[in-house]
């Protein structure tokens, strides 16, 4: 379960997905024009006198081929980018995180983990471009901080590390500004760091804390937890994010008492116990075949619009005809 595999780098994904869309990009307009032309033919024949109406079946065949050609490239859209590597946290309570893991701070300066973790530390593993649970976890943490009965920087520190190797220190700097603002009241700059790193160091850190994640087409799938480290970089506690409170200001919440207690334990190098309940996972949901489904929807939608457009012009061009005689 420990993350030994290579977490794929995002740049690769961008390249391969743009390759797929290129193939699609060639056929889509072509098929669209095909559908359009055949519908125009259809319309012209339907309104154009009796002699030519015998060609209508031919027209339908052309239309069907157009629709099919639009469907075909969609089937080649697999989700081969996303692997099926299991994700989760295998708790490694008591294990020591190596001190020589080197990460970059918000200015891009390299920092060894050993130099940062000298106080009880809350380690949060997220990725910075996430628009799902990661920001909510950080916001929930920011909301809980003022209630902790401990002084930031003096009694504890927070380090947020992105496991996405393509995240940049500039992005980290932005997030730091945001979340420091989100904490009610002043918060020392050094007490909450947002770090980035290269693939090798990220991998080592994740392996050390038992954290596995997986790259998906639009982001990452990963568990959510606060990992508490002691001044000796010993893992003393995993605070699980296990419940989503729908419809409230901070849907992911942390109990100030629980966090304070965990920090106090860490200060004394006391190893906590595993709570054992499930984690909440943060993941982008993009089902296989959804693209294909959207294509079908698109075709049906375009077809409807074209049909109604044709109907409109038919009514407009054929002019008003007066009903004569009585109703039935």
């Amino acid at each position: 379960m420990v993350g030994t595999g290579h977490p794929p780098v995002r740049n690769n994904s961008v390249r391969s997905s743009s390759c797929v869309s290129d193939c699609r990009g060639l056929r889509l307009p072509f098929a669209f024009v095909w559908v359009l032309v055949s519908l125009c033919l259809f319309f012209a024949q339907a309104t154009g006198g009796r002699r030519r109406r015998c060609r209508m079946p031919l027209c339908l065949v052309v239309l069907t081929l157009g629709v099919l050609s639009l469907l075909t490239p969609a089937s080649s859209l697999g989700h081969d980018l996303a692997s099926t590597k299991p994700i989760g946290i295998k708790e490694r309570l008591g294990a020591i995180v190596p001190s020589d893991i080197t990460l970059s701070d918000e200015q891009g300066r390299p920092m060894a983990l050993g130099a940062i973790v000298r106080k009880p530390t809350i380690l949060v593993l997220v990725y910075y471009t996430c628009s799902r649970f990661c920001p909510q976890t950080l916001a929930g943490l920011a909301a809980a901080l003022p209630q902790l009965e401990r002084m930031p920087d003096k009694d504890y520190r927070i380090i947020t590390v992105s496991f996405d190797a393509s995240d940049t220190p500039a992005l980290a700097q932005d997030l730091k500004r945001n979340y420091r603002k989100a904490v009610q009241g002043p918060f020392p700059a050094d007490a909450w760091r947002f770090l980035t790193g290269d693939r090798r160091n990220i991998e080592r850190l994740c392996a050390a804390v038992g954290f596995t994640f997986r790259m998906e087409t639009h982001g990452f799938a990963h568990p959510m937890a606060l990992i508490i480290l002691s001044p000796e970089r010993r893992i003393t506690r995993y605070i699980r994010v296990s419940k989503f409170f729908y419809g409230v200001e901070y849907p992911l919440r942390f109990s100030a008492i629980e966090v304070s207690q965990a920090l106090a334990d860490a200060a004394h190098e006391r190893i906590g116990v595993s709570t054992g309940t499930g984690f909440l996972f943060c993941f982008p949901h993009e089902p296989t075949g959804q693209q294909r489904f959207f294509h079908i929807l698109g075709i049906v939608g375009i077809g409807t619009v074209i049909t109604l457009g044709a109907f409109f012009f038919y009514l407009l061009l054929s002019g008003g005809k007066k009903r004569k005689g009585k109703r039935t």
Binding site: G247, G289, F312, R323, T328
Partner: protein
């Protein structure tokens, strides 16, 4: 019925039954007026059921748990929603007043496809019966809310499939009506009636017809997906089978937001008819009102995402949807300003139809402006899923479409039924309804702002006062409705014979006897000049 026979030369449509006798003379009729009347009766009956469900909900909310259990409460609000939305207010004005008056207003003898019209009516009846059957069938009535959101609607043990099937059938009725009206307006206008000489109600029916044809198929296919999901386990909306519940919301609102305009546009049309007649003034900005109807219909089809700001959508999409939502307010504003400008310096006759129309303008403006509040991203995050939405929705649907239906009913009552109604009672009914309505729904704005979530069966004590005011408002509203409909029913039987043009209207329906003869016009009228030409009395 004797006085409804009309003259011997022009027997009224009540008398001319066609080849069938008795009830079949109505059910088999292809006469647009008969079909319109049957629709009106059906709609009002369903509305009465919906009102009762609403009253029951409000009653339960002042004593949660004492009157309804939580499950029953869910079922009652679902029934209230399904009946009011799908059986009353969506078909509403087009099928009732549209059927009755569209051909008359454009100087035609009937709609373009009279038998298709009858089929629409039968489909409506069939759909309504299927929906009602789902309430009493073995098992539980639907309990998902009228939106049938997946995955709840896929997993619920209630009779969702039956109800959903009924709604699909109703959808087909709606599509055929739209098709019929659009064709009628294109092809059967009287000689001389150009596009910009058509009465404004016809313009709104035209825009509505296109929305019905364009949007309703999406609802049908979405609901068929639900049925497939329930019976065959096809997971269009089930993540574990590769589907996506958000997809349901997109598809549902691609229909259901334009459906708001299916309800509202014809309501605006009725108001545009009433205001000039009772202010004896030419309608201000005719072409602006006409074009704004089409603009609302087209722009309104692109705003569905604003129902889903909190469901999970990219920020770009949310900003765009929010922006288009603001844009759609512009043509609505154009209409409101034009109505007010028409009243300016007019010789206003304060009759009951005008009172309903004026209250429409006020209530719709409140509903519309609060719509902008929740259409903006930041307030939406706070107000989404609260009573604020419920209040906004009812101000637009009831204060808008509902009041317009009442306005139209009073305006055209003499023409439809050949009798005059008691004006004094109508005004008293209006006043009671207006007070009750605001009491009932304005308190919901405050409740919502304070954070009361919608659809909840119970609530913390601090919301009690708001709920109490709202429930008392519901009783006043019900009293108002009883006075209004009591008066209309009484007038139907005992009212004075109506003249052809009791309120001085200039459109074509006022040039034929009340009630109209079967063929509407003895000779097709030829239109010379504009429709809203009032000679000033001073």
């Amino acid at each position: 019925m004797t006085k409804r026979r009309g003259t011997s030369r022009h027997p009224s449509f009540y008398r001319d039954q066609g080849p069938y006798k008795g009830i079949l003379g109505w059910l088999m009729s292809t006469d647009h007026k008969r079909i319109g009347l049957m629709y009106t009766l059906a709609l009002l009956s369903f509305a009465a059921v919906g009102v009762c469900a609403g009253l029951l909900m409000r009653l339960s909310l002042i004593a949660p748990g004492k009157i309804l259990t939580a499950q029953t409460y869910n079922e009652v609000f679902t029934v209230h929603g399904i009946i009011m939305i799908f059986l009353f207010v969506i078909p509403g004005i087009p099928v009732a007043f549209g059927n009755f008056f569209l051909p008359i207003l454009i100087g035609a003898r009937d709609v373009a496809f009279p038998r298709l019209n009858r089929l629409s009516w039968w489909l409506y009846l069939a759909g309504a019966v299927i929906v009602l059957v789902s309430l009493v069938l073995h098992g539980r009535p639907p309990d998902t809310g009228w939106t049938f959101y997946a995955p709840l609607s896929i997993e619920s043990q209630a009779n969702i499939s039956v109800a959903v099937l009924g709604v699909v059938v109703l959808g087909f009725s709606s599509i055929l009506t739209g098709l019929n009206f659009v064709t009628t307006i294109h092809r059967l206008r009287a000689p001389g009636m150009g596009w910009f000489r058509m009465p404004l109600f016809v313009w709104t029916l035209y825009a509505t017809g296109w929305v019905q044809m364009l949007a309703t198929p999406v609802l049908a296919i979405t609901l068929v997906f639900i049925i497939l999901g329930r019976f065959l386990g096809v997971g269009f909306f089930d993540p574990s089978r590769g589907g996506d519940p958000i997809l349901y919301q997109h598809l549902f609102w691609i229909y259901s937001h334009p459906a708001v305009y299916i309800m509202l546009l014809p309501a605006m049309g009725i108001i545009s008819e009433i205001i000039p007649v009772f202010s004896k003034e030419r309608i201000f900005g005719y072409s602006a009102i006409a074009v704004s109807a089409v603009a609302i219909a087209s722009v309104g089809s692109l705003v569905w995402g604003h129902h889903m700001f909190t469901s999970g959508m990219s920020d770009t999409a949310r900003v765009i949807f929010s922006l288009i939502t603001f844009v759609v307010a512009v043509p609505s504003g154009v209409k409101v300003f034009n109505w007010v400008a028409t009243l300016y310096k007019g010789s206003i006759v304060v009759c009951s139809p005008l009172l309903y129309a004026l209250s429409f303008i006020l209530l719709f403006s409140i509903g519309g402006l609060t719509g902008l509040i929740i259409g903006a991203l930041a307030p939406n995050l706070k107000l989404h899923g609260t009573y604020f939405i419920v209040a906004h929705f009812h101000y637009v649907m009831f204060g808008g479409a509902g009041f317009a239906i009442l306005a139209g009913l009073h305006y055209w009552f003499p023409k439809m039924f050949g009798r005059m109604f008691d004006e004094r009672r109508a005004k008293i009914g209006w006043l009671v309804l207006f007070v009750g309505f605001n009491c009932l729904y304005f308190s919901m704005f405050i409740l919502g702002y304070q954070g009361m979530p919608r659809r909840y069966f119970d609530y913390p004590p601090q919301y009690f006062t708001g709920h109490l005011v709202s429930t008392i408002g519901s009783w006043i509203t019900a009293a108002g409705l009883i006075i209004i409909f009591g008066n209309l029913v009484r007038s139907f039987f005992k009212g004075k014979q109506a003249p052809a043009n009791p309120c001085g209207g200039k459109t074509l329906e006022w040039r034929i006897p009340s009630p109209p003869p079967t063929e509407n016009f003895e000779r097709l009228p030829v239109i010379k000049g504009e429709m809203y030409r009032f000679e000033r009395e001073d």
